[in-house]
Symmetry: C2
Subunit: 462 residues, 2 copies
């Protein structure tokens, strides 16, 4: 009501501004109410094997969108229009930080080489295939008007993996290795796609040289390492501050506030420095869960673990709800501004113009990006759970707080008790053991270094 | 960096929009960094008896403001400009909800009649004195040009108590009764001041009738009861949902998310219905801590208690930091838009025009409101702690998680071991006991009702 006084005051002098403010209160309230609905429905459908949280949210978003579309007589399907600022500044950081904070570190780093392989080499292959394919195919179906650079951009757009979707479809406890690989690849993807995209924009097609590819690789290495180092540095700084000042002595709120604020700061600083915010905040989360989390009081430990998970949960539901509503927005199909996935962000960046008038070719590109995102989230999302059950009938069921042992690593994709395994499987396992050997050695060295130099300064599990 | 792609895309087509977005990233990062600084400095000054968190934040805000003022060569003292939307939609709700969630309910309701007396009768007295006083005094110091209605508005503005400041200056564990009275009065104030302010705006000065006062009282009763009922209803609904659906079975995150979202929804719905959001969210907090909190898992209980406290802590620090920066903003002294206190909100609502050109009389009014708010926060804030120590040397020291017993009620303002008490004190105590008797009876009936009808449906402490 105090707020309404402002609105009243505003109304006297400026009708439009007040109406906009009032509209904002209405729309935020409705959005929060629908979010609550998603939480309740998601809970009730928990046991259903064909759905997951993101699909529930998308479907509810579609239903609410339809209602609004009918109520507003076809004018819009949105409760509220958000921009990319909201998405990239406020929704993505908690999701990725929480992923880093809760990720099974041993599992993740054991698969690190494979993840890099998928995330860097994989994306280049996929990029080449999609660019070349669309360049060959598009003119044949009568879709012309794109330049070489635009075909390359198209390849970059469709080779990015969406980390947010991965987190929803796969579960760390059910399929730990698959989760590590796919999610880890998604995180590395963020850096790769940015480098690739920037490289394309700078590309001079007329004088393409062989070592341009090397240059792109160099850029990737630079971006990857600086982003990682920034995340680790901020994580270590927070751990040190929490240990040295011992905040819990006076107030647990300060500990929690400091962890939340520093995590957010790491993302923002990376964005400021033109680095990959996703990589930075992910590594910041890993370092904080390894050191900082052990320097706070017991209550703060429980709270931070759940605070990050809940923030991430709300942000995810928010995004998918919005995607559902967006799907019905015909206006936005032509002039879209935000969509959950990194793909669409890139699509927008490449094809969007600031005005309302649209080149029909570009509009088609953006529309098809939305179709691909919706299709892959819904269809692949629905199919993933049953598919995993068919392919891996013995996979570990999602436990409540179950921590995997180091030996669990081989459990997921290749069940060890499968004695009648084929020759192919045997060969695959030998290969994976061979690959695992150097990783094990590195891990042993790291443990020694951690115990001797890191833990005494930054704290950690005792 | 993904965000930067948008910025790059934007830059190609629209230089101003991209620069504004970029500026937002810079300013939000800086603000978060300064917030971290406040947390650390606040922790280190914790043992200092002359400061508190809000004063620390204001001082840091002033220092940062000065630095920015010098760096920008006198252009502005702000990292970022926020509007009233941010303040009333995002910062106030967590602070007041947390106050309701953590308030000692027995203590609060035992003092309920006194609180209403202060909150309603007190504000009318204060309103009358300030309005009449300024109407008499202002022309004498050569400050003319205000209408009768504006003098009345001035009275309403300066009689509102700021609940946010109260929470910072007093502590529930140190002076439980004083805290209940002053903070409770602040919450009731919100409803009263809105009613009063609306009444003034509708007032037809030419035909003032005696029963206009009665009408205002009627309005207050309506607003107070509807706001309270809305808050209680949403709190009960949440408690019932949490109990009936047993969310903790699948995920603690959903429990926490539902509590946070429903709490926020209660505030927004009150604002939508033109009720007092502060009263609603306060009572929603009380009901949730009495019922809903007991229906969730142990981990969720710890988390919610700290999540609300931390959100409130960050919001408070944010506000005071901003107040500190604002104090240096010369531009804003003429064209201010946001300031922590409800007083300033009312001041703005009454005197602000939408344009940049300003009536010098109105500008003076807003400037003096800012001076009063800053002065009272800093000077009274600094003096409160030592003053309480002088007046009440035996007061209970702030315990960590100490819960007061029912007998603690008389402990704070009137120490029971004071055997050599004066006649006045004795008379006062008899009066307070007399007043307490009906309250005790009501409390006993409430307990019976609660045990028999409420707890079986909505859950609660067992």
């Amino acid at each position: 009501m105090a707020f309404d006084l402002f609105l009243l005051a505003g109304m006297v002098f400026d009708d439009n501004a007040a109406a906009a403010d009032r509209g904002r209160v209405v729309s935020v309230s409705m959005f929060v109410a629908v979010l609550c609905l998603c939480v309740v429905v998601g809970h009730m459908l928990e046991e259903n094997r064909w759905t997951n949280e993101s699909i529930t949210a998308i479907v509810i978003g579609c239903i609410v969108g339809t209602i609004i579309l009918v109520a507003s007589k076809g004018k819009n399907s949105h409760i509220v229009r958000f921009d990319q600022e909201l998405f990239f500044m406020y929704l993505v950081p908690p999701i990725i930080f929480n992923a880093g904070f809760q990720v099974k570190k041993k599992q993740f780093f054991h698969n690190f080489l494979t993840i890099l392989l998928f995330g860097v080499v994989g994306i280049f292959i996929s990029f080449a295939i999609i660019s070349a394919g669309s360049w060959k195919l598009f003119p044949k179906i009568g879709f012309t008007g794109l330049s070489i650079q635009e075909y390359l951009a198209l390849g970059a757009i469709f080779s990015t993996t969406d980390t947010v979707c991965t987190l929803q479809v796969l579960h760390q406890d059910e399929t730990p290795r698959l989760y590590s690989l796919v999610f880890g690849e998604g995180v590395v993807n963020d850096a790769t796609s940015i480098v690739l995209f920037n490289a394309i924009q700078k590309l001079d097609v007329s004088k393409l040289e062989g070592w341009a590819v090397l240059h792109v690789f160099g850029d990737f290495l630079y971006l990857f390492s600086t982003s990682t180092i920034l995340g680790i540095a901020i994580g270590l700084l927070t751990s040190y501050a929490l240990r040295a000042l011992y905040f819990g002595r006076h107030s647990t709120d300060r500990e929690i506030a400091l962890m939340v604020l520093m995590a957010y700061l790491s993302y923002m600083m990376a964005e400021l420095s033109q680095l990959s915010g996703i990589l930075t905040v992910f590594f910041c989360g890993i370092v904080m869960s390894h050191y900082a989390w052990h320097n706070v009081t017991e209550n703060s430990r429980i709270t931070t673990r759940h605070i990050f998970a809940t923030m991430s949960f709300i942000a995810e539901t928010f995004i998918f709800l919005y995607v559902g509503m967006d799907a019905l927005d015909i206006e936005k199909w032509k002039a879209m501004k935000t969509r959950g996935a990194v793909s669409v962000a890139l699509a927008f960046s490449q094809f969007a113009h600031s005005g309302v008038t649209w080149d029909p070719v570009y509009a088609t590109m953006i529309t098809s990006t939305i179709v691909v995102v919706l299709f892959s989230t819904l269809v692949f999302g629905i199919l993933t759970k049953p598919l995993i059950n068919v392919v891996l009938p013995h996979h570990v069921h999602r436990g409540s707080d179950q921590q995997p042992k180091a030996d669990d690593i081989t459990l997921s994709l290749i069940p060890p008790e499968d004695s009648a395994e084929s020759g192919l499987l045997q060969a695959r396992r030998s290969l994976s053991r061979l690959l695992a050997r150097p990783v094990h050695t590195i891990h042993a060295y790291w443990r020694k270094f951690d115990d001797k130099y890191m833990r005494p300064v930054f704290g950690g599990a005792t």
